[in-house]
Symmetry: C2
Subunit: 394 residues, 2 copies
């Protein structure tokens, strides 16, 4: 059984954070109806790279959704949205704060036609606060959250996450908020409004940085791939790429000395405790790199695993996709849409739940593909849809 079957979502989101949220809902069985600007659709439909004129970016994060094209700036478009809202459980939007109010489609307006609506807004800085209107690019939220200052090397510039943590984090918190609101509605009959900000989400996940600053006055910053607590715990160079070691116990350290062919290091005072290894980390790194830089990651994997030393190769996306483990976890889904980009692969669903099924069944929709199907529910005929399209409402 899909737990969210029967739940209807009107999805006013674009780009990544919102669509990442609503694709989780869709994978769990909700009917996600993506309301896209009538002429252009979601802005990602124009993002490069494309195949056969279709954006691959749009394609991966909008699977399992339906598309209705709707000009919300027209009176008729707005009325259609409100008609649809009457039978909707959840609305999600990630327009600029204030934009849905300008359209006359904010929470207060919608709840007049659907009192128990669950209405989630995702934004960079939230619906209130002095920075509310600041541009919400992911790099801007990362820069202002403390994460970027903490990522990278001490002698180099701050580094953003390569694969936009700000968007996925906000999308996930919104996803959780919507699930909580559904549970709340099931118990009380009551809907509600949810305000999720990228900055709040990132700031709430800054680990011990805040408490450390408040208690010790310390202002920690980036330290590459190392950790304060000890060494070796870092990223090192192999002959064919990089790998990481996480030596957290004395046992693992002793085994590492044997693998390095230097059992004498076990009793060497420079390295005989976590503290001394941390103090002499540069020397230690040289020894490890001297050993490892002439070996492949596969050779190192064999040596390290046999000795029980926590090790991992740093894998490229192509290598991750070839991993037997990723395959065994069914984390790669093969799709095919002859109407658009043909065959392609996307990531599977990380929530493995014994009673709540999840699956990816349909490819991303064409713009307005479901206009007739969805709008017939509010009494519009195929002819009506045609007329509205000609008028630019759809």
């Amino acid at each position: 059984m899909k737990t969210l079957e029967g739940i209807q979502v009107l999805d006013l989101t674009q780009a990544y954070s919102g669509p990442f949220c609503t694709c989780q809902l869709a994978d769990l069985g909700a009917e996600v109806i993506k309301i896209e600007p009538a002429k252009w659709g979601d802005q990602t439909r124009s993002w490069l790279p494309k195949k056969n004129g279709v954006s691959v970016y749009y394609t991966f994060v909008n699977r399992n959704k339906k598309s209705v094209s709707l000009n919300l700036q027209s009176d008729e478009g707005r009325q259609i949205f409100l008609e649809l809202a009457k039978n909707t459980d959840v609305i999600v939007e990630n327009l600029r704060p204030g934009a849905v109010a300008k359209l006359g489609l904010d929470y207060e307006t919608v709840r007049k036609v659907k009192p128990d609506i669950i209405y989630a807004s995702i934004s960079g800085f939230g619906q209130y606060g002095p920075e509310r209107d600041r541009a919400a690019y992911a790099i801007i939220a990362e820069a202002m959250s403390g994460h970027m200052d903490h990522t990278g090397f001490p002698d180099g510039p701050p580094v953003k996450t390569g694969l936009s943590m700000a968007d996925t984090f906000a999308g996930l918190f919104a996803f959780a908020g919507i699930l909580l609101a559904l549970y709340h509605r099931e118990k009380t009959g009551e809907g509600q409004y949810i305000d999720v900000a990228m900055l709040d989400c990132l700031f709430s996940a800054t680990e011990s940085a805040i408490i450390n600053h408040s208690v010790f006055g310390s202002n920690p910053t980036r330290m590459g791939n190392r950790e304060l607590f000890g060494a070796p715990y870092d990223c090192y160079k192999a002959a064919d790429g990089y790998y990481v070691l996480g030596v957290g116990t004395e046992k693992a350290w002793k085994n590492l000395c044997k693998v390095l062919g230097k059992p004498e290091l076990i009793d060497d005072p420079r390295f005989s405790s976590m503290e001394s290894r941390k103090a002499n980390e540069e020397e230690l790194t040289e020894i490890i790199n001297h050993f490892g830089s002439t070996k492949t990651r596969a050779e190192l994997e064999e040596l390290m695993s046999a000795a029980g030393i926590p090790y991992a190769p740093v894998l490229s996306i192509a290598e991750v996709m070839a991993s037997e483990h990723i395959k065994a976890r069914n984390m790669i889904i093969e799709m095919d849409d002859p109407r658009t980009i043909g065959k392609y692969k996307i990531a599977g669903i990380p929530l493995r739940m014994s009673a709540s099924e999840a699956s990816i069944d349909t490819t991303a929709p064409l713009l307005g593909e479901h206009n007739v199907e969805v709008l017939s529910r509010i009494g519009l005929s195929e002819d009506d849809v045609k007329t509205l399209s000609e008028k630019g409402v759809l």
Copy 2:
């Protein structure tokens, strides 16, 4: 109203991923009873830095929870756990895969005494698959997910996130899974098992990397703070730190040229389109750094905001904590525990929900602080608790 009030959670998690999940549940009103190893407690109780002998790491992520010390390797400890489970809604654990089965406390065992239990396991690689038993340090999951290869500069090594994205990501997916399971139980009466792996979660959030590889055969890797789509979108050096710009429109570009005092660049063919700016990004970066490196971030902020150019300073944690916006969003909570570390600050709650309250009310518990309170519910007296403590069961 707190939506999760009345929900009891037995929390078998340690370190960061699991406690991050269960503190979300606690903030929303669940009673989270942390079951800690009788002698030592959660391993983070020993983590540095400490104040007054108490770990600040343990303190921030275990607020709002109760603590019961319990030796689960003893028969009596195990029986006590199963007695408690009879009145529990949710169990969360992040031991090594297989460990709860060895203890005789796995899902199949617990559901015999509590058929509708919701039981979530968080691990590095999941409960099945060839890598199941690999050490689950965050850096190892990041290395094997593709994220680390994508973060950092092209001419430097891969970079892990400074503030452990692997843990918070897995914690958040588990949080969402538990909320979905509560909703499912409310509708069907049925409990279930949830298997969440750091690697699956990270891999599912690799943006367009997977589809790009599958469609175009490309194997993209890290590119610092830049983006493929255009420029200037990067991190730059100011006199007193770093800042980021995200110039995504021609309008913002024209305004930037004026701010730089170089209106002639607007029509310069090297920079007159997004494509040409991207092609001449190095020159562009030099021009921006020449202008910005002698100005403070505050001066730049004023110039850029006045001109409507997406800008942000890269803030340290201390600077983020001083931000008026973070304060206005109530994202810093002041706590005080005279028994342990005294006054301290932690991050607030990012989920802003109009009908589901959330709050942080109690500081982190002492080890076994709630033994008497919790164990009295299964009929144990204060004397029983004392005897069990002396025997090492508590």
